[in-house]
């Protein structure tokens, strides 16, 4: 008889590592000053390490500590990170502490990421959507160590993640149930938590942080910066898409275009008699520009991926709308948010930096490898979807007996970006970036096949109605303004596309351009939003222009 195989090697390795550090760990608690030694003792060379940090919440204390470890002890880590947001996230590659990265989003560090890939300092596994990266934590990127952030912990080691729960549960679970090590930085140690978000049983080490984790108010848009062009586009979208397709559930991207839509619902939407008829259900971060629509009764429910700084009191006072615990704070489990955004929505409305002549779009431009975040989950047609809604069904092709509906995926862009460069291009910069960064796939945010509508200041292209790529291109050209793509547009073809409802200009939608003024916005500035919230919204200092 052969020797019995040891089936618990991971568990034993974990126990050995933790017992070697037992002098520094009391229960589950380690001292702030021992953080570096803890990481050096618990992270082995070559380990797969998840460092928590998305586009809002960052485990800053642990990321700074990781950047300070001795590269002779800890090196060649395989980092798994939703967002490359902070300088030290990349410093660890220059120091040799880490060598490989799998990630989703690199907004603030996108230029440096491009350079480091070109230099060979940073080896990229792949670029993911958020949900896709979480999924791989359970299949082929199972972590050895996870470094996460909690708001509060109690003496037993239970965690409270509160408003900004975001990714913490999905990351912790992948390690806790596969003998990975869970290390938590905590803003505060308290006797009693408002509620338990993650049980102590899943947590190995807690280190009180020297300062609270970094939190970005990413989804706050000052109405003062919304332009008349954006208002015109928003009016067209409301009439030509929300109303036309009877849209009930939606995700909005972070830009000013969708902020304009949010602020037109209580005014323009009301004039059109659409209240109670469109978009009662939302998967979206608690963006302050939704306050007027909520207060005037447009919104029944909002599930969120994350919190938003300043919205805490307002959310606590509106539990019928938001997903809040008994304690009054929102849970914001991001994995569930992404899942809901992918499968349960009628529509995604976003913006992008470039759209090619075929309708593919990307935010990756020359020298900036920005990644995807969650947009491709929301902005794609989930082919596994089986339930039907009126909006989804309205896109069903009529010539296929097995045909099914489609999610509405809407791109809203001005034909020229704020940098005065054309948004519509023959070929995406992403094609070149792929070569430079040696990626397997061109980093496309939303593919043409998933894009059902494009809205510009000129009009709407109903791409789902086109029957060939040539027709799709002609529809895009018709609304692409004086970009190189738009200049190819043939007036006779545009006339035909308008007659067939494939392209619509404002006058075709009954939208009056002269109504597109800032006075149509339900709130003109941040102070108006505070008033709408009855004083419950508390904008961050950088958004305050009054005392």
């Amino acid at each position: 008889m052969s020797e019995e195989r040891d089936w618990a090697t991971h568990r034993e390795a974990k126990a050995n590592k933790l017992s070697a550090m037992s002098s520094m760990i009391d229960g589950k608690f380690a001292k702030t000053s021992d953080a570096k030694a803890i990481l050096e003792g618990l992270i082995a060379p070559g380990d797969k390490v998840v460092l928590e940090g998305d586009n809002q919440k960052q485990a800053t204390f642990l990321s700074k500590t990781l950047a300070s470890v001795d590269p002779a002890k800890v090196h060649d880590l395989h980092m798994i990170m939703s967002s490359i947001s902070r300088p030290e996230h990349l410093d660890i590659f220059e120091d040799g502490i880490a060598s490989k990265m799998d990630f989703s989003f690199a907004g603030p560090q996108s230029t440096r990421v491009s350079q480091m890939i070109a230099d060979g300092t940073l080896k990229v596994g792949d670029i993911h959507t958020y949900l896709e990266l979480y999924a791989r934590l359970y299949i082929d990127l199972i972590p050895n160590v996870v470094l996460v952030a909690a708001d509060k912990v109690d003496r037993d080691g239970n965690l409270y993640t509160g408003y900004n729960t975001e990714e913490t549960p999905v990351i912790v679970e992948s390690a806790a149930f596969h003998d990975g090590i869970v290390i938590v930085q905590a803003n505060e140690v308290v006797d009693k938590l408002p509620r338990v978000d993650i049980p102590a049983d899943w947590v190995d080490v807690i280190i009180p942080a020297d300062e609270p984790y970094q939190l970005e108010p990413l989804f706050t848009r000052d109405p003062q910066n919304i332009t008349e062009l954006q208002i015109l586009m928003a009016m067209m979208a409301i009439r030509g898409i929300y109303e036309k397709h009877n849209v009930q559930s939606v995700n909005h991207g972070v830009g000013f275009n969708t902020a304009a839509i949010e602020l037109l619902l209580p005014t323009y939407g009301e004039q059109l008699g659409l209240k109670g008829k469109i978009v009662p259900n939302w998967e979206v971060n608690p963006t302050p520009t939704l306050i007027p629509a909520i207060e005037s009764g447009w919104v029944q429910s909002i599930h969120s991926f994350g919190g938003e700084v300043g919205m805490e009191k307002y959310i606590a006072a509106r539990p019928d709308v938001f997903f809040v615990g008994k304690d009054g704070t929102m849970r914001s489990n991001r994995a569930f948010g992404q899942m809901a955004g992918q499968y349960a929505l009628d529509m995604f409305v976003g913006s992008t930096l470039q759209i090619d002549q075929y309708g593919n779009s990307s935010t990756v431009t020359n020298g900036r490898l920005s990644g995807f975040g969650g947009a491709p989950n929301m902005g794609s047609n989930p082919t596994g979807r089986r339930h039907s809604t009126p909006a989804w069904q309205s896109l069903r092709p009529d010539n296929d007996p097995l045909g099914k509906g489609q999610k509405l995926v809407v791109q809203m862009v001005e034909t020229f970006g704020s940098n005065k460069r054309p948004v519509f291009v023959d070929s995406l910069d992403a094609v070149e970036v792929r070569k430079e960064a040696k990626l397997q796939n061109v980093p496309i945010m939303i593919y043409s096949e998933d894009t059902t509508h494009i809205v510009t200041e000129e009009g709407i292209a109903y791409l789902y109605k086109t029957s060939s790529m040539a027709e799709r291109q002609a529809a895009i050209e018709a609304i692409a303004g004086v970009t190189p793509v738009g200049l190819r547009s043939d007036p006779a073809v545009v006339k035909d596309l308008r007659a067939r409802g494939i392209v619509a200009f404002p006058e075709d939608l009954g939208v009056n351009r002269n109504q597109a003024t800032r006075s149509l916005l339900a709130a003109q500035n941040m102070e108006d939003l505070v008033k709408w919230s009855k004083g419950l919204y508390n904008p961050p200092a950088k958004f305050r222009s009054w005392s």
Binding site: L229, T415, N512, N514
Partner: protein, 99 residues
């Protein structure tokens, strides 16, 4: 500052003068007046030099779609092509509403 001049064949004469927009940063004003001429004549003063081709492209597209016959005076302070098109089409719409 640059002065530009264009002529366009047009078929829809306007009956009243109209004024849309303001000369503010990123914006422009468009003044249209009825004319006896056979072509629309445009006199443009722009704060951004070197954009003659872009102006021509915007105007080609506008007159393809809305062949208004008028004298145009345009005073621009760095508007994007999208804003130029917005002001031109707003003027077109305001004239149509008057009719």
């Amino acid at each position: 500052m640059e002065k530009l001049h264009f002529n366009y064949a047009a078929t829809q004469p306007i009956e009243h003068p109209i004024h849309i927009g303001v000369v503010a940063s990123g914006d422009l004003e468009v003044i249209m007046k009825p004319t006896d001429k056979k072509e629309s004549e445009l006199n443009i003063v722009t704060g951004s030099d070197g954009f003659k081709e872009v102006w021509q492209n915007v105007l080609n597209r506008f007159f393809d779609r809305y062949p208004l016959l008028a004298d145009f005076e345009i005073n621009d302070f760095g508007a994007t092509p999208g804003v130029v098109n917005l002001r031109l089409t707003q003027a077109m719409e305001a004239l149509k509403d008057e009719q």
